[in-house]
């Protein structure tokens, strides 16, 4: 398999080599990008203000990939918010005329999140928040955020370096809130910036990468258990197997597996998983390798195969986003 010998940096990595080798340059088929540069963890970690991104943590985010936005202008966020607000109101009114700019029950805010980027080519992340006006209609009371979503790109150079002017690459879109709002916001972005959204599922292979990468990370405070959830296929009744490991044990195991600090290879991930499987088999006589890995959770983040992630630790936010950006790009290209 081509992924053999793929090298990853830790905790963040430059590029998955197992994506189909369709490096695109301007709509022509190019050569596969086989170079696996090892880029140090983003320096933005230091300058990032944890306060500003704190609200992104400990929430379940649903993942989407987004193709580049056409003619998105950072300077017009206020206008976009106004139009999006009117669009949402109009959709809720089933097509009746809605005045743009009047007070509506759903308030839309678009803003840039400056700290969430990796390379120079990355655009600032874009936050969209919908809040409902409180019923009391008193101006002082706080609006309640009913839905939020953000577009971001962390080391998304594979996409952005090939895209001409007028396109904005923010390939990863994360939402939290009612699906109906996601659909409204998504539809508006699709119409306005000619982009496409797709749910970003995470394959069992990628989940095993995640658990290996995250199990090896150092955490200052006492971390929660490393947990892997497997689903057994082809049963009349759904059967999930949860496999929890003490984080220190997981880290100890990983340290014996990993050869070069700062790099991960597919082989190491395989060995790590095989050890876990063997241990489980010794005790329960169940071959977990025959089941499907559907969820992993560690002290750093948790991820589900249907594309829902929860990031727990601000220090590793850029690293996790980098991996997700990479997955999103491989879905677009």
């Amino acid at each position: 398999a081509p992924e053999d010998g793929a090298v990853r940096t830790l905790p963040s990595l430059r590029r998955l080599s197992r994506a189909l080798p369709f490096g695109r340059s301007h709509g022509r088929l190019g050569v596969s990008s086989s170079g696996r540069l090892i880029v140090p963890a983003p320096s933005s970690q230091e300058k990032a203000d944890p306060q500003k991104t704190a609200f992104l943590l400990r929430k379940a985010w649903t993942l989407y990939s987004v193709t580049p936005l056409y003619r998105f202008r950072r300077g017009r966020l206020r206008d976009y918010a106004r139009l999006l607000g009117a669009f949402i109101a109009a959709e809720k009114q089933k097509g009746l005329a809605v005045e743009v700019g009047v007070e509506l029950d759903i308030k839309v805010a678009l803003s840039s999140l400056a700290d969430l980027r990796g390379s120079e080519l990355d655009q600032d992340a874009l936050l969209v928040q919908l809040s409902s006006r409180s019923q009391a209609s008193s101006k002082n009371s706080e609006d309640k955020v009913v839905w939020s979503g953000w577009f971001c790109s962390v080391f998304g150079d594979d996409l952005s370096e090939n895209v001409p002017e007028h396109f904005t690459c923010l390939p990863l879109f994360l939402t939290h809130g009612a699906e109906s709002y996601t659909s409204l916001v998504g539809s508006w972005f699709q119409k306005t910036f000619d982009c496409c959204f797709r749910r970003l599922a995470i394959s069992p292979l990628n989940l095993s990468w995640m658990v290996a990468m995250w199990a090896g990370c150092k955490l200052d405070r006492a971390a929660s258990a490393v947990e892997l959830v497997f689903s057994v296929p082809r049963l009349a009744q759904p059967l999930d197997i949860s496999y929890a490991i003490h984080p220190e044990d997981a880290k100890a195991l990983w340290d014996t597996v990993q050869k070069t600090p700062g790099e991960i290879t597919q082989e190491e991930v395989d060995v790590f998983m095989d050890c876990l499987y063997a241990h489980f088999h010794r005790h329960f006589k169940i071959h977990l390798s025959a089941a499907k890995l559907v969820k992993v959770s560690t002290g750093i983040a948790s991820a589900q195969c249907d594309g829902i992630v929860k990031i727990l630790h601000s220090q590793y936010l850029p690293g996790v986003l980098m991996l997700l950006t990479e997955l999103a790009i491989s879905q677009i290209q």
Partner: protein, 741 residues
Amino acid sequence: MQRSSRARKQPLHAHHKSQTDLSAWRKGGTIDSEKSLQSHQSANDQKYDSQEESLEQALSYFEKVQDCVALKKQSVPQKHLDAVESTALKQGLPPEGFEILLNIVLSGKFADTVNTRLLKSLIPASVIPEDSVVKAVSWLCVSKCSGNIKLLFLKWLITMFDYIDHKEQLHALYGIFFSFLQDERLCPCICHLLYLLTRKEHVNPFRIRRLLELQARMGMQSYLQALLSLYKLFCPEQVTITLPGKMKTYFKNSDGPWKAAITAVRQRNQGPSSLSQTLFLGTAQPRSRKRKWNAQLVIPASSANTNNLEDDREKCFYLYSTNESFPLEQLHTFPQLLQNIHRLEFPSQMGSVLTNPLLLHYMNCVKDESIYLRLYYWMGQMLQEECTWCMVDNPYEEEFKSFLETVYKAECFLQEGFSACEEFLYKTLPLWDGFCCRSEVLRLLSWIPLSSFSDIKSYLYDPLAQLFFTSSIYFKCSVLESLKELLQNWLNCNAIQVDLESSSLNTTLSGLVNGVAELVRFVGWISTVGLRLENNSMLLLYFILDFYEIVCDMYLKYNLPLLIMLPAGIFYPALLSMDSVNLNQLCYIMYRTNLVAAKENELCKKKMLQFKFSDQTYQVYNQYIIAMVGCLWTSSAFQKDIHPQGLHMDDELLSKTAVKELRNSFNIVYHPAMMGYSIQFLQQICPDDTTFNFKLIKGKKWNWYLEYLYTQGLKGLKVFIESSISRVSQASCNKAGNAEA
């Protein structure tokens, strides 16, 4: 129909003219699809015809009714009423029916039950003429009908609003409608209608005052608020009252009994093409099925890009003139495109160009990278998300098929493949079962662009070969057909490019030659194996030779310095084929692969000098020609054939077969593919002889026989014999014929 001429006699305002044209075009569209529908359902033809007839009778009856008529069972009016109802629900009513039926309904000639039934069956097949509605409103003013009918009519009008062909006169009747507000029962409906009709010029202080009075009298009614808020939107300075910002649904659902019927009629009339039809009109209808918001295989409707309307700087960059841009929604004809081409903009969603031929024309004119990139992203995501053999349990195969079909048609229109499509094929061919959406996928293959991309073998040829060898003969034929189209497209595109940039030719030419050569070799390989797998099937051979008919033109017709002979594994099965069509085609191919001319050409064209055809090609060509002439003409195939895979056999071995007249057995008289012709020929020249003495065909009769064969459509044989025989044998046809005898 006779009534349509009457309708046209009515004077039209000048500004209606273009709209009338448009509506005629729209009607044309529906009629066309009606026709095609009928051709599909030929069984229903008669039923439809008789239905049309009875509708016509019914309409002419209703047109002539003078007095009040009571409806009885089995009576004449009952029969006509049934006819109208059943036609309306099945096909919808033609535009000319509305005036007649609205007259009847609103003039109060029949009882309310009849009027209600008629109103409920007023379903348009295409459009509703504005005149009929205007007349109906005048009937409304004289109040001949009951309040119930008035109300139902207004509801009908609101539902049908979008189907009225134009609305200028209706806008002129704004005041009339407004006056109906005083009727408390009609008020909600009238408000809704006014909401649809209101333009800025309709708002004036009198009307605002009137609405406020009504509101004071009737309380805060949502329909009044709706109208007031619209007035306020148009003239905020005149409407000073504050309206509650919180909006509920203004109008009760007044779709009445019609909405479902309209949808049903539309679907039936437009058939499977409804998607493209509605898209072209820019009125994509919402899907009834619930689907994921981000993965609907709905090609977006073309609508103007609103994103940059407010931005002047952007405009200057994007448009070539300072004129305002032309709204895409109004672009319906080719002349419009030509007149406004300098102030057109691409739609906000590029995907919509696929179903809009005018925008595809425009795309051909504008060489902007971003339009291709937008299309690339959109199409790539659509194809991947909806691919029926990649996504488990995707139940929308028909939809995906029609999407692939649309993409293919657009590619044919543009004469150019989409890169998203190419990638999609490369990614999914290894997973394809060769069954799902077969013809659509194979057709898309033919637009894969020729590129210097060297991995085409592993992405295209390898998965295709696997499918080819393991699938039925029909699949094999379809693959060959697609690859033939692919080769043709490559050659055509290259021919255009060579004309355009003959200077920079040398850099790209070798890449092109290599790509084409690789394709031809691939087809040669799978064909050879395929023929063996299918026992030299004549059908398969036919498709293979079809491909080589293009190959043999590469040098002379397409100016490509490339000569590739068909492999022996194809040549000999074709030469010994039982079927005259294949033999004839082989002769034609050998005639077109005219290496003698090629060699002369090669010497003339200095720039082609770097591409020398290998001696081996000439050698193989000569061996083939010798084998063919030996077989068909000089009856010496077994002696003279020198191809290693050829027919050469020792005399000793041949004598052991104990077959008489062995030497002749593959000439044009005895060849199994030709035997039918020689028998018929013999029957014509000696009708009495039933012994079929083939030896009679010699000398003069040999020439007659040749003439006879040529008249039977064996043109390939003709050109081959005329060009090759004289050259090879250095003798006249006459002598050759005699020599054989």
